[in-house]
Every structure is written in C-alpha cells, then in structure tokens.
Amino acid sequence: MKNTLRQVFHSSKFLVGFIIFLLILLTMWVYPFLNPGNPLEMIGVGTFARPGTYFSLYDAVNTPAETLRLSDADDKRVAASMSMEDRVAMVEWFTLAEVDIEGLDINDTDALLDLWFANYDSSLKLKGMTNAKKNYYKRLDRSIREIRAADTFTLMHPDEDSGELVKRSDISKTDYINVGQVTNVKRLPLGTDNFGRDVLKELVSATGTSIVIGLIAGIVATFIGLSLGLLAGYVGGFLDDIIMFITNIFTVIPSFVLLILISYSIGQDQRGASVVAIVIGFTSWTWTARSVRSQVISLRNRDHVNLSKLSGHSLVRIILTDILPYIASYVVMAFILQVSSGILSEAQLSLLGLGPKTTEVPTLGLMMNWAMLYSAHTNGSWWAYFPVILTITFISFSLNLMNTGLDQVFNPTLRD
Amino acid sequence: MGNVILEVRDLKTKYVTRFHEDVFAVDGVSFKIEEGKSLGVAGESGCGKSTLALSLMGYYFPPLHYISGDIIIDGKNISGLDPDAVRKTVLGKEIAYIPQAAMNALNPTQKIIRFVEDVIRAHEPKADKKEIRSRAEARFAELGLPREVLDKHAVELSGGMKQRTVIAVSTILSPKVLIADEPSSALDVTSQKMVIKMMRELMEKGYIKSMLFITHELPLLYDVTDDIMVMYAGQIVEKGTAKEMVFDPIHPYSHGLMGSILVPEEGTRGTTLTAIPGTPPNLKKPPQGCRFAERCRYAKDECRYHAIVERPFGEGRSYRCLIGVDQLREVYEHE
C-alpha cells in the first residue's frame, strides 16, 4: 500500500494534477475567511461592475488630502479623456489642414497635443468640412483646454435650516488622498455579476458546491457501478446476463438525455444541488459496472479466491478481502473520472436551465447560466463567465491528469 | 571442419533503462556455427539468451544498444554496416528471426499474403505481386502449410498454425542463419512436434544453412541441435556437443542446470533432480570475478576476484571456471 502510494506520487502527471486540485481546495477553504458573508448577497445595484478596487467616494471626500505636484497628471487626464475617435478625428484635421504628420504616433498624447495647439485654428476654412464637423472640432478643442486649465471643484451641501447650498471645501487638481485612509474600500477582483454580486466570492462558493456535486455524483455512480459489477462478475450466470443487459442498454442511451428527462420531471422546486448530484450519479454508472465486472471475472478463478471459497468464507468477506483490493485502482480511477464528468454534467444541465434551484447556492453551471442569460459574453463582461470556464477546465484537467498518472502506474504498457 | 556460416567475436550489447542505467545483458560472447549445423543456447530466464538473439541481428533500436564485437555471416562482417544497409541486405535475407511470442508476431489486421509482399518487397522493391504469390504458395506447400493460410488474417489462425506461418514467412528469402527464440515453448505438444519437424525440414531442404536455437527446455535442445552452449549472466559458461553437454557437463552451472532436467536416455532413471539455489547477479553492476561464484558450491575466495576467461579443453569444447576439468569431474563423481 505504502509502496503503491509512493509510486503514484512519483508520477509527474498525477503530482501536477494533485497539486492543482489541492490548490483549488485550499482556495475554497481559505477564501471565505478572508471575505466572509453570503456569496449570493447582492452588493451592487447595477449589473456587471468591472473588476477592481472600489472606494467610497463619500468617504474619500472626507479624507484629508495631501498636495502632490505631479508633472504628468494633466497629460494623463487629457489622455484618458481622449477617445480613439477623437484622436483619429485630430489626425483627419491635420491631413485636411496639410500639417506635416510624418512619424506621428496616434497613441502619443503629448506629440498629438503639441501639434494640435500649434496648428489648430477654429477660423480656418478647410475644404470639404461640414459645419457639424467644424463644431465638433471646436468642442474637442474646448474640452481639452478645460482639462488642462487649472481648475478646482467646489463641494457644496445644503444648509439644514435654509436649504441653501453652503460651500464646504474646494477640491484642487493636486489633492491626493491615501487609499489606505479611506474608510470604506471594497476590492472586487472579479467585479460583480448581473445581480450585483461579488463574482470572486460567488465563484469560490460555486466551486465548492460543484465539487461536492461531483463527489456525490461520483459516489453514487461508483456505488451503483461497483455493486452491479461485483454481482454480475462474481455471481455470474443469469444475474450476470440481466445486469449486463441493463448495463448495455444504458451504455448506448446517452446519459445526457436521461439527465434532462429526469431533471425536468423532478421540477424546479424539488431540484436542490444534492438532488441534481444524485440524479447525475444515477445516470453515469455504466462504465464502472462494465470495467468492474470484467476485472472480477478475471479474478474470480484465481487461486487466492478459490482458497477463500474452500475455507468457507462468506461472500461478503471474499469480496471485501479477496476481490476489492485487486480492483481498487480501477474503481478509484473510475471515481475520479466520474467526479469530473459530474461537474461538467451539472454545468451543462444548468446551461439548459435545468440546474439546481437558484435561490440557495451558486454552482459553476448556474453562474455560467446567469452570465449567458444576461449576455455577459456579448457585452464584454468577461469576468462573469471566463473565470467560471477556467475553473471548470482546471478542475477537470487536474482530475484527468491524476487519472492519467494512475493509469500509467497501474498499466505499465502505457508507460513512456 | 565445414564452412563457417556464422561467427560471433566478443559481442557486447547493453540495455539502457528509463533511468539511463546500463544493463550489460550480452557481455563478450563468441561462437561459431558451421554449415548445416544447429547450435542451442540454454540458460535460466534473464540470463541474456533472448538478448543475444536480438543482438545477433545487427540491427539495434532502443532500449538495446551495440557496444562492440563482430558478427560475421558467411565471411561478411555486418556489425560495421549502417542500419539501413543492414535492414536492406541482411535482415530476412542473410539472417532471420523467429520471435519468442509468435502468437503476437503477426499484425492482427493484415492478411498473411500482404505481409509476405511487404517482406519480399523490402528487399526486392520491383517484385511483382503475382510472382510473390506463386513463390509464397510454392514455399508454403513445400513446408506442408495449406495455401489458404495466405489469404487469412493472423487472428483466424490457430496457435500452432500461426507459429508455422511465422517460420515460413521468416525463411521465405532462404536466409543463411535462422535464429529461433523459444519457437515452441508456448505451444501444445502436437504443435510443438510439428514446429520442430518443420525446423528440421528447413535445414534438410536447404532453405536455411544454419540455426541458433534458444530455449529453456533442455531436452528439446538435446533432441534438435548438434551443439549446445550454456549462458549465465550475459556470458557463455560452457560450449560443447549436445551429447557431451548433457552427459558430461563440466562447469558447475551447466552441471547444476543439467542436473535439474530429465533426459529420456537409458541410465537416467533413478537420478534425483536438483535445483540451483540463489538468483543471478544484477547486470547493472556485474561482479568483478566469476559471475556464478555467489551461487557456486565449489567457489573459492579467488573466484570472486579474478576475471575468468573461457578455457578450451577436449575436442573443441570450452568452459569458464578456475577449477580444472579433471578436478570438477572428480567432485561430481563423488556426489
């Protein structure tokens, strides 16, 4: 046993898969301590807030400011305010005004502005320039100049008695506050989803639920497959025929279809995460049953099994001590694959709208489903779905790597 | 002395394991086979006899690697040739091989005739399909194989038939040397007999000129081959005629090996069978002295430190031991 384990951990594939899986599990365990609370709490009012650090504007105003004179602050402000269209329009103007733009980089704000201030003249009449376009350039010029002009915002608040606005403070362009001193700061590394929920918190919780679904599905499938395989293989005869008949039928009929039919029939209200998991397990045992059966048949007439039979050991004891240890590796491998396919099945069911009911817990599939329902993929909110896809892929990749590693240890012909 | 067909001089080859360790499986083997003669190789499993068979082909692919030595077939040294030249001019044509597991030696999804075509065309690229078929049919008929076999897949043939087909295909180009690695050990008795009969026919009809026969079944060697050599831990420990080797083995290992078998000859009744205790040495680090010393009942201290060379004695015999021939014979007498 110890030796086998050492061999297993010597397989680089198994080790890599194991480490990835362990890291995922570790994150699931540690993250809730760092960011406690209900993962389905809707903290945002809008949909799909971008990933980043959010700090309260209200608190920021009340935080004492330091004056910092940064030479490039204005340029940055201008650069940020100028869209690509503005830049292209400026280049168009230069071309019309026959300004030499040789070697000009459209992304180089400094060079662009220098050229602009040196040459722009709103009174200049250019060929083919419509009035609307002309006004557009005027507006552009004004807005750029405004940003560059030394300006302060004045903060007012209504007086309690008279209702008149009273000046409270000025905010100058050179005022900076330390983010660490702002009272309310919220980090949303993956933004929020369509319901305004913290995606990272939700993702961690969903990963946990999905892995549990995979595990339950795997346990159910392995239990059914193992029992049927053992019975068919060890008892043989008529029982074997019947079990194999059923197994063969369920091998050909796609489990995906059965899953849909059963999930739909159960109905939305009864469909908790564990029910979905059990249903998945019920539809994916055939492979285990087949491989266990063929292994048991080859073991059935081995000497040590015959010896046990002659010694009058009970069926249960023979199966537990003389058969199970020999097929354990296959069962473990089948179990790992079933966990991974269980997670995938849940995701696909949820995408069809047949996933666990939505009010209790998030699952990876449900997150995917919500993101798709709210068109996260077409409106550029990658943070709502891409981490989900990546998580599913990594879980399944790590499980499959472990499986391949085990396969190479237990089937030496496949070794490189 | 007849015309020497196969001469091997101090051949050394090694396996390289996954962990880049060298295993010296054939370590300085020399012997000769004359025209019309067959030589048997005996030894425990793992002694290097199958590796010797592979090494003699002059065509090495990982994990087997050539180190040094000469393989001379009918006067032509093939050990210096480049692999492609060996493949084209030697393999199948000069020297042919019958593998240990003939059950799986044929591609299961290919018709036998297609395989025969591939074999012949590898050496005669212009050979015409019809001509190949007639050649194959003629040869199969000569060897007593039904011609229908040619149009079957390997999976459709019985074990014995598969092995005979392998032998017929291996020798279709009438090679000078045939190397048979346990060609009959996996078969039932009847098929075994037919295979042996076929090997004899090959020699009698001149389709092969000499044969190296490897087996762990000593009685079979005595039956089939003219000479026998005994291999231990990658080296030859004793050579002689079949009769001499069975009835007068000199080396303690051959003596032990022969003692562990029954030969259906008069006078053997009543002798007890003995097994040799212990296991062969690790060939990753072969011992410096006699390789058999650890298991030898007669070993002295010096056996473990002296490198031991093959010593000739009698008529063309040789053995690899420090103790004198007469001394050993005397010891065996008194047991």
């Binding site: 009929i253 739909y264 | 999976v155 459709e156 291996s170």
Partner: protein, 335 residues
C-alpha cells in the same frame, strides 16, 4: 460471410432492443416523477385565477389533450402508435405548431453541424495523437499537455471563448443564429453565404473540443501498438519503418472507432449545449427554448430524437467497425 451475418444480426437486434428501451424510458421517466407535467402546465396557465373550478376545468382540458387521464398502458400504446405516424404531439409554447414540424426543421441544422464537426475533430485528433506518439520528444512534450488541457475545456466554454474572440472582439464572424436574422431560408447564393459564415464558429468550437480527447487517446493507443511484438518482428524482417508505422496507426485507429461509438452520446450532449451559446437553430436551442417555456411535449420529443440519433450513429459505427477490423469476423467464429 457467415461470421459477418452473425455480427450484423446481433448488432441489428441490439439496435432494436435499445430503441425500444429508449422509447419506454422516454415515456415512463416523466410519468414516474412526483411532479405531474400537466399540473405544472395548468399551474402556469391558471396563474392568477382564483376560481378553483375553472382551474379544474383547465386541468381536465390538458389531461384530455395529452391523454393523461387514460390508464398508463393505454397511454403508452397511443404514444407508440402516434410515434409510428410521426406524430409527436402539439407544442405548448408554439401552439398550435406540431412538435414533429419544429423538430424536423431543427434536426437538419444539428446534423449538418455536428456530424461533420465531430468527424473532422476525430480525424484531426487521431492525426495529432499519432504524430505525438511517433515523434515523441519535444513535440510530444508540448502537444500532450496542450491536448490534455484542451480536452478538458467544456464544449460550451470553447463556444463562448471563440464567440467572444472572433465575433465580439474581432468582429469577423456573426454572433448568433444559423443565418442572418433578416433573411428567409432559400436556396440563393446570398443565403448560403450567410449560412456558411454562421457555421464557422459553432463548427470549430466542436472540432477543437473533440480534437483534444481523441489526440490523447490515439497517442497512448499508438504507443501501446508501437511496443507490440509484431512491430519488432516486422523490423527484424527488414521491413521499412515507414511501412511499420502504417501498420501501427491502422491498428491504433481501430479502437478509436469503438471509442467514438462509446463517446458519441457525451460528445453530442456537449455540442448541443454549445448550440445554445450560438443560438444555432438546431435541437440544442430547441430544447433550451422548450425548457424555458416549460413545453413538455417538445422536451420529450427532442430527447427522444436525440437518443434515436445517437443510437443510429452508434449502430453505423459498429457496422463500419465490423468491416474494417478482421478480428470481429474471427471472434464470431470462435463464439
């Protein structure tokens, strides 16, 4: 030919047995469940109604419409009889459109998308797997982890990723549908062009997903075959490596056909979900809209059609396999 007849006979028998089982399951599973689809539909239709007798009235009407007021066995015979007439009932969400009508327009899209995509993915995957096994060093080191990773990207994940990259960001492919939304299906060149451009992303996402798994399987199968005894034997007969590699890949490919038959159900399942992402007008999207609209007859019919499709493909693959692998024929003689 006798062996083939037995094999095909067995396969045809199995096809019908599984077909019957599938029909029974499709009928019985929803009826075994505690929630009754008719009451679910009634509940939806009657939401807001306070008059219990009116609700009862609606329930009765749907019971009659779906025939659920009759005994189970009688319902089953009606179900089968209707099935033979191609009558799959009336859609609930697209009332009064016939379910068979909805499905027959969707099934063409699904078959035209999935069949070529899965086949191309299978072929490319096998080719890459074989290359990885043959070239090994370097190529294998890079390709294998990539293929392993790729094979674990769920089909819908690949679909979303491709959609975002090529349709949303690069804008070189349309975002959704089987053809431009402002067109009416016809045989014009303009329509075909639109169909082809909408076809690309769903097609390649299915191809990419199937490549990975196939490549990994083919690689280990090829490595297994490269170590087979017949490879060594053929080499020792002087057959060129290129020819031997041909044997190996043919033999490694055969189990991949069976593998495809076993995994086709899962692959189609994944591809159906990918259809939803692209709003492709196939069975996947039909099923999705049926689920969202709680259109019970449509769901039941879609699952049945998908099962039958999978059964037919599996059956055809079994038949093809019987022809290309001589071992099948031989096994029938043994049995």
């Amino acid at each position: 030919m006798k062996g083939y007849r037995k094999y095909f006979g067995k396969k045809i028998l199995w096809f019908f047995i599984t077909l019957i089982a599938a029909v029974i399951l499709n009928f019985i599973l929803p009826r075994l469940m505690p929630a009754d689809p008719v009451s679910a539909i009634t509940g939806k239709m009657a939401s807001g109604m306070t008059d219990a007798s009116a609700v009862q009235e609606i329930y009765k009407r749907y019971e009659a419409e779906f025939g659920t007021n009759k005994p189970l066995l009688q319902q089953f015979f009606i179900f089968v009889k209707n099935l033979f007439h191609g009558d799959l009932g009336t859609s609930f969400s697209q009332y009064p459109r016939k379910v068979s009508n909805i499905i027959s327009s969707a099934i063409v899209w699904t078959i035209c998308l999935q069949l070529p995509a899965i086949l191309v993915g299978w072929l490319l995957g096998n080719l890459l797997g074989a290359l990885a096994a043959y070239i090994r060093k370097g190529f294998d080191k890079v390709l294998l982890p990539v293929a392993l990773f790729l094979s674990n990207v769920p089909a819908f994940g690949m679909a979303v990723t491709l959609l975002v990259i090529f349709a949303v960001k690069l804008k070189i492919a349309p975002i959704a549908g089987g053809y431009a939304f402002d067109m009416i299906p016809n045989m014009s060149w303009r329509f075909m062009k639109s169909v082809i451009s909408h076809y690309q992303l769903p097609f390649w996402s299915i191809v990419l997903v199937s490549i990975g798994g196939q490549a990994v399987g083919m690689r280990s199968m090829s490595i297994y075959e490269l170590n087979a005894d017949y490879v060594k034997y053929a080499r020792f007969l002087g057959i060129k490596d290129r020819k031997i590699v041909g044997y190996v890949f043919r033999n490694a490919m055969l189990p991949q056909v069976t593998g495809l038959a076993l995994s086709i159900g899962t692959m189609i399942g994944g591809a159906l979900v990918a259809e939803i992402i692209f709003s492709y007008p196939g069975l996947g999207s039909t099923m999705y809209s049926a689920v969202t609209a709680a259109d019970y007859p449509l769901i039941s019919a879609t699952t049945l059609i998908i099962t039958i499709m999978v059964l037919i493909v599996t059956f055809l693959l079994d038949i093809i396999y019987g022809f290309i692998d001589p071992r099948v024929k031989a096994a029938q003689f043994d049995a």
